[in-house]
């Protein structure tokens, strides 16, 4: 384990951080910690909607974060995105509407680590060099040959070894335990559009604090540092591609800083009243979250259809009785009976469909730190 030069301290609930007027508050349900805009204490946690945020001390780095990606998506864009998100679900819970999602959406910045380090060691790889070859396709028609040249792109792989002593800056590393899941929910960000951290860009957004400290994040960061080193070595060799990169190196002078990414968090409640968290990438507008159908409403519709089917069936039986006196009524009774059976069968669909639909909603969801899926 390389030496960690980053220093963490305990910041009390009354202290403000990073030249902002914000102090730490934590969720009493999911244990996530945020820096809230003033007077937001006591509000619901935007990422679990089960607990409230209360002022608490936190162990974190007092040094300012390094970079953030500003929000790119406006409320109007959100409205369209939520309309699209909620459409296509046949029997929705009553609470699952674009209007509700929009009204409850909260801007949140969530953290990544940026790690800088010195790397010194020896490496080997297969370096891939682009080249083009000429091929041809010839045609014979009317006693004459014609030739058409074709250019193909290929990669030539060659072994390369070497030594490396350099500094790798701004390698991103997870700062949250649920980083991978969060990244799946938000989709990719264009990290090259990041700007230096400035409290003015925070606005009313919640600032989520890391729950992985640098020591815990290093094993996750190191493969990324190695990837950067691999790219450097490939560039040094003049190669356009690389594979099977291995490195034996020492990493030192590590410097950790935070990098914040924008997202919107909102929710709707399902049949049982449980909040279902919906996340929107604050840069691209990608919306992700469970799109659940309502079983209760499905059963209600099924019940109504079954009642209608029963009534028609009774009417058909009555028609059969009349048919004993007036035989042509038997035909109508038969048709009514068939209609009743048809509607009765149709009643099964709304009863069964929500369950089937919900089972398919297996995409990534917001989890609490213990991994419980909501």
């Amino acid at each position: 384990m390389p030496d960690q030069t980053s220093q963490t301290e305990i910041i009390t609930e009354s202290q403000t951080l990073w030249h902002t007027d914000r102090s730490p508050s934590g969720c009493n349900h999911c244990q996530r910690v945020f820096l809230l805009p003033p007077s937001h204490d006591g509000t619901n946690c935007p990422l679990c909607r089960r607990g409230t945020l209360e002022a608490q001390p936190v162990r974190t780095r007092p040094a300012d974060p390094e970079r953030l990606l500003p929000f790119n998506i406006s409320k109007q864009d959100l409205s369209t995105a939520y309309e699209q998100f909620t459409s296509g679900v046949w029997i929705k819970p009553e609470d699952f509407s674009a209007e509700h999602l929009l009204r409850r959406s909260v801007p949140v910045f969530w953290p990544l680590w940026l790690v800088d380090c010195n790397i010194r060691g020896n490496w080997e790889m297969e370096a891939g060099f682009d080249y083009q070859i000429e091929s041809s396709k010839d045609y014979y028609e009317g006693g004459e040959w014609r030739s058409r040249k074709q250019i193909e792109d290929r990669i030539r792989w060659e072994p390369r070894v070497g030594v490396l002593e350099t500094r790798v800056d701004n390698t991103t590393a997870p700062a949250l335990e649920e980083n991978d899941n969060r990244m799946k929910m938000t989709g990719k960000y264009q990290l090259n559009q990041a700007i230096p951290f400035n409290p003015d860009y925070l606005g009313g957004a919640y600032l989520e604090l890391p729950d992985l400290n640098p020591e815990e994040a290093w094993p996750l960061a190191r493969p990324r540092v190695d990837q950067t080193a691999a790219r450097m070595c490939a560039n040094a060799a003049g190669a356009q591609h690389h594979r099977n990169f291995t490195i034996q190196a020492r990493y030192d002078n590590l410097n950790w800083t935070e990098f914040f990414l924008p997202m919107y968090a909102t929710y709707y409640t399902d049949d049982e009243g449980a909040p279902q968290i919906v996340i929107t990438n604050g840069m691209t507008g990608t919306v992700q979250g469970p799109r659940l159908a309502s079983r209760k409403r499905g059963m209600r519709i099924a019940g109504i259809l079954a009642a209608v089917a029963g009534a028609i069936f009774l009417l058909a039986l009555f028609g059969l009785l009349i048919a004993l006196i007036l035989p042509p009524a038997g035909l109508i009774a038969g048709l009514l009976g068939l209609l009743g059976v048809f509607i009765g069968i149709c009643a099964i669909i709304p009863a069964v469909w929500p369950g089937q639909w919900n089972r398919k909603q297996e995409g990534p969801r917001i989890t609490n730190p213990e991994g419980e899926r909501r």
Binding site: R120, G121, N122, Y131, Q132, I133, E134, S135, S136, K137, D138, Y139, Y140, E141, G142, W145, S147, I151, R154, E158, P159, R160, V161, G162, V163, L164, E165, T166, M232, C233, N235, A236, A237, G238
Partner: protein
């Protein structure tokens, strides 16, 4: 850049440091195999300092004065010799030709500078008579000969082989003496390109099938058998795997391709990795026909093979509106040197070329023709037909015997014409360049 970044680490053997495009990163790459071989080399005997050359019988460089001999340490690679792809770089570099017009070769033996012409791979120093071998003038490493077939036929054997060849054929002048040629047979390594490719050919044509039927002819009042051709559009595909298709790298104006083709085949199983020792004391030429020109020549022959294969794929001989496409894939080439003895001799103010395959001993070339002999033989071949015809004409007055005589004379005349034509062609080819 020295490897002082990580002093305890050493690169694997046969890796050399190469240029790095990033500060702080040192890069090592495998050493190019050919770098050492391609250095210009001088040949002088380590014992007596005399001139040494490759000796076919000894299979190595040898000194004819003190008896020094050293075998050539070359790996026989045969048909597994490395092939190269048609990269755009190789094509562009090949089309630039073999470097500058004349190059200066420094003689290690006497220190003199020798000017050698474009395309010449070997030279003899005019100051100390030592043999020089040089292939470094090529612009691209891969466009230097990487493989060659060594000479197997000794200069002494060439005399008997060429003499035997010259003695063949009755229609050559008696005055043609074997000695005139034998004195001048010179061993030369000639450049060749070999090509490998896979061809997927798709054809489409109207294919005719014969349908035979019996029909009654009301006019002749007979049953007749009629054959009708039913045409149908059909298509198909064939695959060809072409290996080691050989194309000469010499320009036709210098070396007759017609004669060169008659020397084929060379057995590529005997290919060895290029070693300059093989060229010591022998002449060697670099390519004049560029890679793309040679490939065009090769491709023309290969696609005709593909066309024939498509025709073989068609079940009948009745074909019309034939069209096809030939898709070439995995094209690869080699640039190799082949052993050939060359001679040019003068006979009655005409220059004739003779070549001898330095691997197999096959001889081919131009031989002057005694046309008087040829015309006499042709006259003799036609005479029986003419003579019998002349006898047959008056006999026609007599009756049937005249008809038989005329018929026989026509047959004899036709046979005579055919044999005469073949003989004439053979004689023409013997003289052809």
């Amino acid at each position: 850049m020295q490897n002082n970044l990580h002093p305890s680490w050493t690169p694997p053997q046969d890796f050399i440091q190469v240029e790095s495009q990033v500060t702080g990163v040192v890069v090592y790459a495998p050493r190019p195999e050919s770098a050492e071989q391609d250095q210009a080399r001088s040949y002088a005997c380590p014992n007596c300092g005399a001139n040494i050359a490759y000796d076919v019988a000894a299979g190595g460089v040898a000194c004819e004065y003190c008896g020094y001999s050293a075998p050539v340490q070359a790996k026989q690679v045969g048909k597994s010799a490395e092939n190269f792809e048609f990269t755009l770089e190789a094509i562009a570099q090949s089309s630039q030709g073999w470097g500058v017009q004349r190059q200066i070769l420094h003689c290690d033996s006497c220190g003199g500078d020798i000017s050698i012409p474009d395309g010449t791979l070997t030279a003899t120093c005019p100051f100390c008579a030592s043999h020089q071998v040089n292939v470094v003038a090529s612009v691209e490493e891969t466009l230097r000969p990487r493989f060659l077939v060594p000479f197997k036929i000794t200069p002494q054997q060439t005399r008997s082989l060429a003499g035997e060849w010259l003695g063949k054929g009755w229609y050559h002048p008696k005055e043609l003496s074997a000695n005139t040629v034998l004195q001048r047979l010179t061993g030369v390594y000639l450049p060749f390109w070999t090509f490998n490719t896979r061809v997927r050919a798709r054809w489409r044509a109207q294919v005719g099938y014969e349908r035979t039927s019996r029909q009654y002819n009301a006019r002749t009042k007979r049953w007749e058998t009629r054959t009708k051709i039913v045409w149908r559009w059909e298509d198909g595909h064939v695959r060809l795997n072409i290996e080691d298709h050989l194309v000469s790298g010499s320009a036709n104006r210098h070396i007759s391709h017609q004669i060169l083709n008659r020397l084929l085949p060379f057995h590529l199983n005997a290919l060895v990795a290029y070693e300059p020792d093989y060229l010591a004391g022998w002449q060697a030429q670099a390519y004049e026909t560029t890679l793309t020109e040679a490939w065009e020549i090769g491709k023309r022959a290969i696609r005709e093979q593909a066309k024939k294969a498509c025709h073989r794929d068609i079940p009948t001989s009745h074909v019309r509106n034939f069209s096809m496409s030939a898709d070439f894939t995995d094209e690869a080439w080699r640039y190799i040197l082949m052993p050939v003895y060359l001679a040019a001799y003068q006979f009655e103010d005409q220059i004739y070329q003779v070549m001898l395959n330095g691997q197999t001993g096959v001889v081919a070339g131009q031989k002057p023709v005694a046309w008087l002999k040829v015309w006499l033989v042709i006259a003799a071949l036609l005479a029986p037909g003419v003579f019998l015809g002349l006898i047959g004409l008056p006999l026609l007055m007599v009756g049937g015997i005249g008809v038989i005589s005329i018929g026989l004379s026509i047959i004899l005349f036709v046979v005579g014409v055919i044999i005469s034509f073949m003989l004439y062609n053979q004689a023409r080819q013997s003289e052809a360049k």
